[in-house]
């Protein structure tokens, strides 16, 4: 809901805004759906003026439909597939992480989610030479480990240093800071971190559950709403800037029964699972539907 303000568009003067407010019209939606003739008489302003204002406001605030063909062209030219650095993981994901999509990594404690996140960050920074934003909410990021991984991939110190400079780390510990961070990244177009010249290609969050789990399960629904807000912001971020997002979610380890990750936007995996620890990869396609490519892997992936 957008509040009507003076000078939002030509013809919308302060006096007119006040008159409209007295006639119980305070938002753009109300103005656009109101009966303009009656309104013109009430506010003693010409019908034509109100019509012009409505046209401009509609143009400013509507979304424009795009044809399927244009959308397809756009997608072909802007989508990139980022390899994760593990050939088998790439196979699972149909060649890798797709930009413009959000991939969730969920698993029990100690199954290797953080290692996969590190591996992806290192691969993108070193081999693809692109920037990576790593949001750490658990305090688990260890640059020494990243360096160790870089050393196994490349023996040149300059390359290792350059790769380390392309990984930007945010250490946040509550959901409001996470929302602030994602909002500011979106607003600034990922600019503050594109200083090194490399443009950012991936956003990795390890893990979202650390900031959201303490809020879920109460009578109040703020936890759920905040989680959906994080999801919506992430999806908007990946679409607008053609980056890939990978977020970790910690769930209960599975033990011969049904795996139930405590995250409402993924459906529970059905069927019996073997007893060893597992890493389960779920691909989130859109907010309302989960395409579950849940394939079990042993923890040696």
């Amino acid at each position: 809901m957008v509040v009507l303000r003076a000078h939002m568009c030509p013809g919308l003067e302060l006096q007119l805004v006040r008159d409209l407010r007295e006639a119980d019209i305070s938002t753009v939606e109300e103005l656009v759906s109101a009966d303009l003739e009656a309104l013109a008489q009430k506010c003693s302003v010409s019908y034509k003026a109100l019509l012009a204002i409505r046209r401009v406001l509609l143009a400013q605030h509507t979304a424009f439909p795009v044809s399927g063909a244009d959308l397809y062209e756009d997608l072909l030219s802007s989508t990139a597939i980022l390899s994760t650095g593990h050939p088998r993981l790439d196979e699972l994901l149909d060649s890798g992480l797709y930009t413009g999509e959000l991939t969730e990594l969920s698993g029990g404690p100690g199954t290797g989610k953080t290692q996969v996140c590190f591996g992806v960050a290192v691969h993108i920074a070193l081999h693809l030479k692109q920037g990576v934003i790593f949001i750490d909410t658990t305090g688990g990021i260890t640059a020494t480990r990243l360096h160790q991984m870089l050393q196994t991939e490349s023996s040149s110190l300059e390359e290792q240093i350059a790769a380390l400079q392309r990984i930007h780390v945010f250490q946040l510990f509550d959901v409001f800071s996470l929302l602030d961070c994602l909002c500011s990244l979106r607003r600034s177009g990922l600019q503050p971190v594109a200083v090194g010249g490399a443009c950012v290609r991936a956003v990795i969050i390890d893990s979202v559950s650390a900031v959201i789990s303490p809020l879920l399960g109460t009578r109040h629904t703020e936890g759920m709403s905040l989680m959906m807000q994080v999801a919506a912001l992430l999806k908007a971020l990946v679409k607008d800037f053609s980056v890939a997002a990978l977020c970790g979610w910690g769930c209960a380890p599975c033990s011969g029964g049904v795996l139930e990750p405590p995250s409402p936007h993924t459906a529970a995996a059905g069927g019996a699972r073997p007893e060893h620890t597992q890493l389960q990869l779920l691909k989130v396609c859109n907010a309302h539907q989960v395409l579950q490519t849940a394939l079990s892997h042993e923890s040696g992936v």
């Binding site: 809901m1 404690p109 290692q115 305090g139 640059a143 780390v169 500011s184 650390a210 011969g256």
Partner: protein, 345 residues
Amino acid sequence: MQRPVWSLPLSSAVISKLNRRGYQCTADIEHLTAGQLSTETGVKEEEASEVLDLVDHQRYPVSITALELLQREAELKPIVTFCSELDRALGGGIPLGKTIELCGVPGIGKTQLCLQLAVDVQIPECFGGLGAQCLFIDTEGTFFLERLREMAAAVVRHCSLLTEDQEQQDAMRTFTVEKILSNLFVVRCDDSMELLSQISDLPAFLSDHPEVRLIIIDSIAFPFRLHFEDLPLRTRLLLGAAHQLAALATTRNTTVVMTNQMTTRVQGEGSRLIPALGENWGHAANIRLLLQWIDCKRMATIIKSSSHMSTTVHYQINTDGFRDLSEASKRAKVQTEDQKAVGNS
């Protein structure tokens, strides 16, 4: 895309007042002054300026590159455990700035390791230590001063044997058992509420005592396993507390060590021991060490860590404290291996 007002950390009264006047998103409020917002919506001036502060464009979290993080980590020394095998597996010792969970059956040596770390963190810098202080939060009543004295005396003896240069000699003059005891702060918490409020008070405590680099909670499981009927509430409280500790550890470069108990999981015909406090608690700590008996020997295994390989090492507890398997038995092990090699060739 606009950020809704309810996603800001404001009280629900303020949010409902803003919503009633049609201010649903931050974009609607950005251009107003505190006075205007206050008159429009009826919130108090201070609350209005608080709202505008939150909406302000300028505030966003700052990032550092992985290179700077590496340089910062290189400056942080780990805390030795005095068991050289375990120190080697951990890359020098318990790392600073992380949360570590010690799980094990009763009597395996969790409290002994905690007491050892409480002394080791105080080793002067010229001997390779941190020269820092320690806070010990005792919930089980297992803190024994005499045992700490013994361990402190052993460490002082060890350091005095290593003294070579003038700096170390000067340090040894002040590094005594009394000094070690005076650099250790002990708090006793009797139930979960006291523990949680102690954890919330930690930032203030650390600001007052900037030399503290190690916080030990022995144990975090005990107060939460008694009289807690509402299990989902327990999980939420525990995860929230663990998260506060992780934030504290990372921002203040302090290590937090927590001990956990074991419980039994019955599976089909058999049962096995798993760490207590539920399955979601497993995500709380950065590093998890499992202490267990294997073949009548004490073994420590790293079962979760983002920067260490999963290894199992031997250790023992003797009068000096937490140590490697003794020299005598190490020599015996080497001899039997030689004999085996001679036998095979």
